[in-house]
Symmetry: D2
Subunit: 334 residues, 4 copies
Amino acid sequence: MIIKLKQDINASQHQSLASLINNLGYKPTYVNTQFGKYLVSIGKKEIDLRKIGFEAGVEDIFRVDDAYKLVSSQWKIGKTVIDLGDDVKLGGNDFQIMVGPCSIEGEEQIASTIAHMKLNGVKIMRGGVFKPRSSPYSFRGHGIDTLKIWSEMAKKEGIKIITEVMQVSQIEEMMPYVDIFQVGARNSQNFNLLDELGKVDKPVMLKRGISGTIEELLQSAEYIFSNGNEKILLCERGIRSYETAYRNTMDINAIAILKDKSHLPVIADPSHGIGVRRYVDKIALASVAAGADGVIMEVHECPEKAVSDGQQTLDYGESAKLIAQLSEIRKIVS
Amino acid sequence: MIIKLKQDINASQHQSLASLINNLGYKPTYVNTQFGKYLVSIGKKEIDLRKIGFEAGVEDIFRVDDAYKLVSSQWKIGKTVIDLGDDVKLGGNDFQIMVGPCSIEGEEQIASTIAHMKLNGVKIMRGGVFKPRSSPYSFRGHGIDTLKIWSEMAKKEGIKIITEVMQVSQIEEMMPYVDIFQVGARNSQNFNLLDELGKVDKPVMLKRGISGTIEELLQSAEYIFSNGNEKILLCERGIRSYETAYRNTMDINAIAILKDKSHLPVIADPSHGIGVRRYVDKIALASVAAGADGVIMEVHECPEKAVSDGQQTLDYGESAKLIAQLSEIRKIVS
Amino acid sequence: MIIKLKQDINASQHQSLASLINNLGYKPTYVNTQFGKYLVSIGKKEIDLRKIGFEAGVEDIFRVDDAYKLVSSQWKIGKTVIDLGDDVKLGGNDFQIMVGPCSIEGEEQIASTIAHMKLNGVKIMRGGVFKPRSSPYSFRGHGIDTLKIWSEMAKKEGIKIITEVMQVSQIEEMMPYVDIFQVGARNSQNFNLLDELGKVDKPVMLKRGISGTIEELLQSAEYIFSNGNEKILLCERGIRSYETAYRNTMDINAIAILKDKSHLPVIADPSHGIGVRRYVDKIALASVAAGADGVIMEVHECPEKAVSDGQQTLDYGESAKLIAQLSEIRKIVS
Amino acid sequence: MIIKLKQDINASQHQSLASLINNLGYKPTYVNTQFGKYLVSIGKKEIDLRKIGFEAGVEDIFRVDDAYKLVSSQWKIGKTVIDLGDDVKLGGNDFQIMVGPCSIEGEEQIASTIAHMKLNGVKIMRGGVFKPRSSPYSFRGHGIDTLKIWSEMAKKEGIKIITEVMQVSQIEEMMPYVDIFQVGARNSQNFNLLDELGKVDKPVMLKRGISGTIEELLQSAEYIFSNGNEKILLCERGIRSYETAYRNTMDINAIAILKDKSHLPVIADPSHGIGVRRYVDKIALASVAAGADGVIMEVHECPEKAVSDGQQTLDYGESAKLIAQLSEIRKIVS
């Protein structure tokens, strides 16, 4: 059950509401976000919602059967639209493409990528400066200084930045330079990191775990929302299966289901999904046909020379062609 | 290595070619289909193809590295187009939709379905008369007599029929009444059945195994082709994964890969794929965006009353709307 | 619901019982095996079992909630023991090891294997003469003539034979020469083959499908039992997962569950399970610790020279050592 | 390549060794643990190891082909034995059982568990005070104060404690009270946490990820070792598969492989593995038969009343019986 509170609810109203909930045998969690105030109440007894609806300080009340609550479409019918400023919006009617290299390699690469983006009307640039790697001996990214340079160059051109945050201690230092924090698949249930990202007023794109269920992804998003941050994007990036003909099994089914179960925007990552350059376009197109609100893809001036993930990275020509096709598909299904 | 033979190759040419192959340390298999004659030769040694190319009786010769040979796109660049007669073609530039109930229930249902098809320009009707069931106590379909009635009604209206064959002994009795034999997921590696279907001149749609790999599907298709039947359709119908939010993980990735690796047409089965009525449309659209040559989907006048699979079956309204959208997507990607 | 009938039930008693069942809204299936007569009745209504228990011709009656019925331990508390003759029994207190090559290669190999078996007290020999292969161009076994020779040599030494049957047409010709028919993983839901194996009085070892569920395995066994053959062995041989460090994920969990859910003996196949020679012993030991009634394993005089599966085959020394350890483990857990 | 350095290597020797490595085109990482000094060198060129072996400051040198290095058995033939003090050792010839509740609930429960342990000769107690939960609204454990009480009670009785650490900020506060830090499945690739646990001199038990590969587990262990901590235990706790008859697919295969590929001790967690109380004993026995150096299992005075995981928890009677059987199996296989 989600109780939407009035913005001007006062302390005594709050108190009396909380005791009412407790007396009904429900456990209340108070949530205060950049957009609203909520009382999430978890319990099993059948109760008469109207009883609560008429209480002072209550704006509205919703029954939510899902295991996740605030991110569920059961209470919020309208779609969440995330505003990155400068008229760059994502979700609902606003479709966005995000392109860029796996790793940010230097100024020349940034400039070249931005030029490609401007030519093709893309407004959000992806790229890693902190890279999670299975082996401790692998390249872990160029770090915060490179992010600062990137941010400066992007801001000049009105380009927004999405990049991965790997640990709590990085949040504050990255904060001024990123427009969207990305949480990687391996951190999809790093609840500590999710808690902290829920306390900042900055969009977070949360990737599905390597073998995460759809419900686990939504519950991880609930961690962020219930800590105070409503600006969440969900990202499907492929799951593990027995098939070895590709890198991951991009789960297009999940896109359709996430769009239905949640009001949050859903982004497709075909580069990590199928993970094979020559098929990335097909999977990107399929994702948008299935309802994705955006596509994030690895693009590099020369994929053969990329320091990482070159095998799943498009060159500028491939990228430009795909961007045009994606828009056409989008028109049909939206 | 595939050696395409001349149609008029004579016995002595054939003999001398076979001994040449054997002497090179390769194992030759002679294949005679409705369209051509081939000598598939398996071996590992590096050999000079031209040596064989100049032999009498040889039309052309191709190196094929794939584990599967005759179904590979490495030797046959053009796409296989399957002609069902009455100008109904499938593959290459020819896109087809197949609709119908899970089980054929009776004349009234057949008539109603055909009417829906005619209204929406659909030319191939699906439906089961022999049903594979996990439990021996479940309904196993209405059998051959129902197929005969169905066939009569369909022929009158120029409608083609696809239905499942489950065992060798059914092939002959079904032969006059079907336009495409369907091999179900559980029989995807029933090599005995595949061998026999390779000996008839009738199209076969082969479904991927419940947890079959893409390579296994192609090797199963190779069984049919190497027994003499080139008219093969491949069908992606979802695989098993850990996710329980849907019935199967429809593997759109496989569609993109099969289209690239093989010259055979690829059909998507979103009904069994995601297996949830309200999402079937999204997955059908995604499949076509990824390159599918056709879509097979369960449609029933009243899904709630279907004797089987109602939960993944569309009604006529949903079907009509989806058929229109599929054509639009197809135009963009073809 | 399973109704155990009296052996001397007469036609009119049978008739009146069937109508009673039908009137209760249940669907009866009459099953007549080499050991008993049963009426399996499927339905959902709550009914008073005593009503039926007092009917003429009824020996006993059992409620079975499982999807499978006759193979369930819910009605048959005692364990099924399969008697192969010459005092070779399997199930309950009788533990058996089965060894032999992947493919039967010739007389010398047979003689050598039998000698190894006699030295180590093993009474059942495995080996393939019909081999299912993913590719139509692979070696498919030496066939029926080799089986005849093998059978003659084995009978002289009191050795029992288990070998794979791949299609209905082979059952009759193999019948005189085998002691246990093996159904391979790819045929685990070849219902046609299961139906026919249910009609012969010969033990059948049914392997779990490549990605078959435990419930599907039991339902496939139900096909055999409900056609008249109670002599069934279940075999765990590994399932498909994302892990690539071994051939299959030998699912020891399934052994524990099958032993609990069914009265049928459970055999472990560690050779196909983990599929790596140096680990076969560990997995064999673990299987017996988890409760397996038997182990089937690939053993060859010289695994490096085996025509197939050499990488997962033990030599005689490894086999002898393992057989001794298996007996010790068995003593602790039985 | 791993270069074992002499303990008294001096700065200039170190310097000249590093430049030699660099000049050979290898990337050196200097590792200083509680037991030794190493130079891990990553590169692809074939080089003559003796060249380096004769350098000043070098004790020994090993070629390691595995992706993981210091945790590989390719360089360290002997098994790692972890000494918890008071003669409680783990690894090599030392087998240990760890029991206790899912969550530490209070003093009475702790006292009761310790009494059960003393009766059965168990020396390590498990229990959670910080619980990772999929939902932000679930019970997250009783926290640090409960750990302090638990630690005091355990120390009095010579009992060692293993408990889960979820985030970097908890390491320091937990340090005085735990004997083994446990890293849960969801944090198996939380590289930040692994880095920090590599900097303390306290054993760490690292669980395999929910769908982690065997190689990923070893690479995660490499994070800990390469940061300076050699005291690592690996834990198999079940993976995700399509099977729903149990909680997770306990992967006994992984135990056999980890024991072979690494010198680190391997612990089995059958409670989370199969996750069904009535089968936990079978899976524990199988794990030890496959070579596990220890078993961690959930035990509670009254599983029906446990605040979490009751469905997979043994009572004292079941635990006592199993502990006795585990020792018998261990004797046979060690």
